[in-house]
């Protein structure tokens, strides 16, 4: 479904990604882990088409097309979804209105009929139950006055409604208490399917206790320095990132480094 080949990305004059290659197939869940400043968020932003990132070389192919030629909205319509680390507030714009506009733009692109207000309300109420969200949410502005946990739940609600083929979750666990984390993880797990690929970007292993990945990659210094299965995440939990980023100097276990 997604094939990244030797991707080099600059922000301004600085090279952030220095040759990333990654293959993701339908039905798989991949986790990208790494220390702060390793380029994790850059990768998800580039995949979603955010401006301000210069792809110097390499390619990203999604469903056999060059995704780099597409605008963010075209990518969304083709089934790419990004749950943001910091969902933004849009005052005065109703939550439901934004989501309905998004869903209908996507449906239209796919030759499906647009949902009317009633059909959409039925759909969103069903999905809100999944995310344990209050009905008052329907009348609020986009993320306006939302708590950190509500914002993240809102992201996964959007994912549930837009039903993407490729979901990118950028630090979805950050800022969540354990109860909110469980709700969010439960939402994501219910969206796992053989047709859908999920790429999670996270600093902590904690999220992976609830959403079990098929593959774990360690991103550091703009490169994937190690890949493995879920046991790699557990090893990182025990040993931190230092043994990978500074292999010569590592001695013993430094679990504390992860949370630093």
């Amino acid at each position: 479904m997604l094939s990244i080949k030797d991707l080099h990305v600059n922000v301004g004059d600085k090279e952030i990604l220095k040759g990333i290659s990654l293959e993701i197939h339908a039905g798989e869940v991949h986790a990208i882990m790494g220390p702060n400043g390793s380029g994790k968020s850059t990768l998800s932003q580039v995949l979603a088409g955010r401006d301000g990132y210069e792809v110097v070389s390499g390619s990203i192919t999604y469903k056999d097309q060059d995704i780099l030629a597409l605008s963010p909205e075209e990518r969304a319509r083709e089934g790419v979804f990004l749950a943001l680390q910091y969902p933004v507030e849009i005052p005065g714009v109703n939550n439901v209105y934004l989501l309905k506009a998004g869903l209908n733009a996507i449906r239209k692109h796919r030759g499906l009929s647009e949902l009317d207000a009633f059909e959409f309300l039925t759909l969103i109420k069903e999905k809100m139950k999944l995310m344990q969200m209050d009905e008052s949410f329907l009348n609020r502005g986009v993320n306006e006055g939302f708590s950190g946990g509500e914002k993240k739940r809102n992201e996964i609600l959007q994912m549930a409604i837009l039903e993407p083929s490729l979901a990118l979750l950028d630090e979805t666990d950050s800022g969540l208490d354990i109860d909110a984390l469980k709700i969010v993880a439960n939402g994501v797990n219910s969206l796992r399917s053989p047709e859908r690929a999920i790429l999670m970007v996270t600093h902590y292993q904690r999220l992976l206790d609830y959403i079990t990945p098929d593959y774990v990659h360690v991103l550091a210094g703009g490169k994937i320095i190690k890949s493995g299965d879920k046991s790699l995440a557990l090893e990182l939990e025990k040993r931190g990132y230092d043994w990978l980023t500074h292999p010569q100097s590592q001695k013993g276990t430094t679990t504390g480094a992860i949370g630093a």
């Binding site: 979603a48 088409g49 955010r50 401006d51 301000g52 605008s71 963010p72 909205e73 990518r75 969304a76 319509r77 979804f81 990004l82 943001l84 910091y86 969902p87 933004v88 849009i90 005052p91 005065g92 714009v93 209105y97 934004l98 989501l99 506009a101 998004g102 869903l103 733009a105 996507i106 692109h109 502005g141 986009v142 959007q158 837009l162």
Partner: protein, 482 residues
């Protein structure tokens, strides 16, 4: 700013969609202004002597006045002798009695503007008094209104049929010497709308006037007078559009509202005059004096305006809260794009006891647009228990535009309560990207965000016009990026 300036340029340089000239023979007076021109206008309109004298007084006063220069505007000098002060479509000498009698070309014009007069009137239950240049050409639903005792006609008709109301109320809110442009208007106004709602009558439909400047080099000076007698209610909407021209055209209108005891007037404006091109060439000078007097106790006047057009806008729809417990409201969205300038706001003059006013102003600046809120809240010594709430928000798009806020507050009664809130924000890359990553196009995203910003004002518009205002905003601003 990571988003390409190229996109911004393209999206902000949206072409004006109403720029066309209707090819109709016009009766146009040669340019120039002196007492003879005023006498001529008055004669053509068969006006009673008191009105001619009133005009001449205004003119003589105007000659003594300097051009106002206190607004935050750059205005090229205006040659008042180069303007023609009267232009009427040449057809028959008597006004058409129904739409069938109206020149089909005119109706076509309205169609292009998206105002299918008959359709709109029928579907929306709106009575439209369309002012084409200086003469009113079509008035619909007159009969139904007449049954309720409502008078809704062109100003010229009112002068002929209700001279006693004109004599009593004309200039009673905006005196002929009030300000430079009001004085000019008082001297040379050619037509406009007149509304009288009798005691205790709730006007059975929204009243609406579309003004349109057509003839080149013609100033348009309308005069609108609305009188809501005791216990009556009326909602009035004006919409404005002008064709594309290289020269600047002057539009100096005066609107006077009088609300007697327990009366309620809601006045909504959607102004889409030609704003000039992307280099600031051409466009309407919209210098308008609008004022309402809450003359009786418990009366209410509410102004709602959506100002997207004109090269320069200079207007301050105001309320004089004379009656005890009277209420004044001002809800405004003003958008400036390209080289447009707006200096707009309101004055709330609290005279009566327990008077209350609300001001909500939303300014949007894009391109090189300059947007300025100027407002006065004045509490006079007798205004025991007066209250005001002002909220003033600016939204900036791009880095070449400007937003300015000039609130004036004068309080002479210690029991008054006055609140002022202001904010300035930008459409952020984050907001745009968020919407786009949900499949929404950049244009739709901007329009959605801007409409969200304006929500508090749009909800004050009559339903059918709220939709129009939203569309207008989207057209004027497709996809400007912060």
């Amino acid at each position: 700013m990571s988003t390409t300036p190229h996109d911004l340029e393209e999206l902000v340089t949206q072409k004006y969609r109403h720029g066309f000239v209707t090819d109709i023979e016009s009766d146009t007076l040669a340019p120039g202004l002196d007492e003879n021109v005023i006498r001529h206008i008055s004669r053509i309109k068969k006006e009673p002597d008191f009105l001619l004298q009133w005009r001449l007084n205004a003119y003589r006063h105007w000659l003594t006045m300097p051009t106002p220069n206190w607004a935050h505007l750059k205005i090229a000098p205006i040659d008042y002798q180069a303007i023609s002060y009267y232009s009427a479509p040449k057809a028959r000498t008597d006004a058409p009695k129904s739409l069938d009698e109206v020149d089909p070309k005119l109706l076509e014009t309205y169609d292009k503007l998206g105002i299918p007069l008959h359709e709109r009137a029928r579907l929306a239950g709106v009575a439209v008094d369309a002012v084409f240049d200086s003469v009113s050409v079509a008035t619909t639903f007159k009969d139904r209104l007449a049954k309720a005792g409502v008078v809704f006609c062109s100003f010229s008709d009112a002068v002929q049929h209700h001279p006693e109301l004109i004599e009593r109320y004309l200039g009673s809110v905006v005196p002929h010497g009030d300000n430079y442009f009001a004085a000019l208007n008082s001297a040379v106004f050619t037509d406009g709308s007149f509304v009288y709602i009798p005691k205790g009558v709730r006007c059975p439909m929204e009243l609406s006037t579309y003004f349109r400047i057509n003839a080149a080099n013609t100033g348009q000076f309308e005069r609108t007078l609305i009188i809501a007698d005791e216990g009556s209610t009326v909602s009035y909407l004006e919409g404005c559009t002008a064709p594309m021209r290289d020269e600047n055209q002057l539009h100096a209108a005066v609107v006077e509202l009088v609300a007697l005891k327990d009366a309620n007037i809601k006045y909504s404006t959607v102004q889409n005059w030609y704003p000039g091109d992307e280099n600031g060439l051409g466009g309407i000078y919209n210098f308008v004096t609008k004022r309402g007097d809450c003359r009786g106790a418990n009366s209410k006047i509410s102004w709602t305006q959506v100002e997207t057009g004109s090269a320069i806008t200079w207007k301050y729809p105001s309320c004089i809260l004379t009656g005890d417990n009277s209420v004044g409201e001002f809800y405004s969205v003003a958008l400036t794009n390209h080289y447009q300038q707006a200096d707009t706001g309101t004055k709330m003059i609290h005279i009566g006891r327990n008077t209350k006013s609300t001001i909500v102003s939303k300014g949007i600046s894009a391109g090189h647009g300059q947007n300025c809120y100027r407002g006065l809240v004045k509490i006079l010594p007798g205004a025991e228990g007066a209250r005001n709430y002002t909220q003033c928000d600016s939204l900036l798009m791009g880095d070449r535009c400007g937003a300015h806020t000039f609130p004036y507050i004068e309080v002479k009664n210690s029991t008054a309560s006055v609140e002022h809130e202001a904010s300035t924000s930008k459409i952020s890359d984050d907001q745009l990207f968020y919407c786009r990553s949900r499949g929404i196009s950049q244009e739709d995203a901007v329009s959605m965000i801007v409409n969200g910003f304006c929500k508090a004002v749009f909800k004050e518009l009559p339903m059918e016009f709220a939709v129009e205002a939203q569309n207008l905003l989207s057209v004027s601003l497709e996809g400007a990026v912060g």
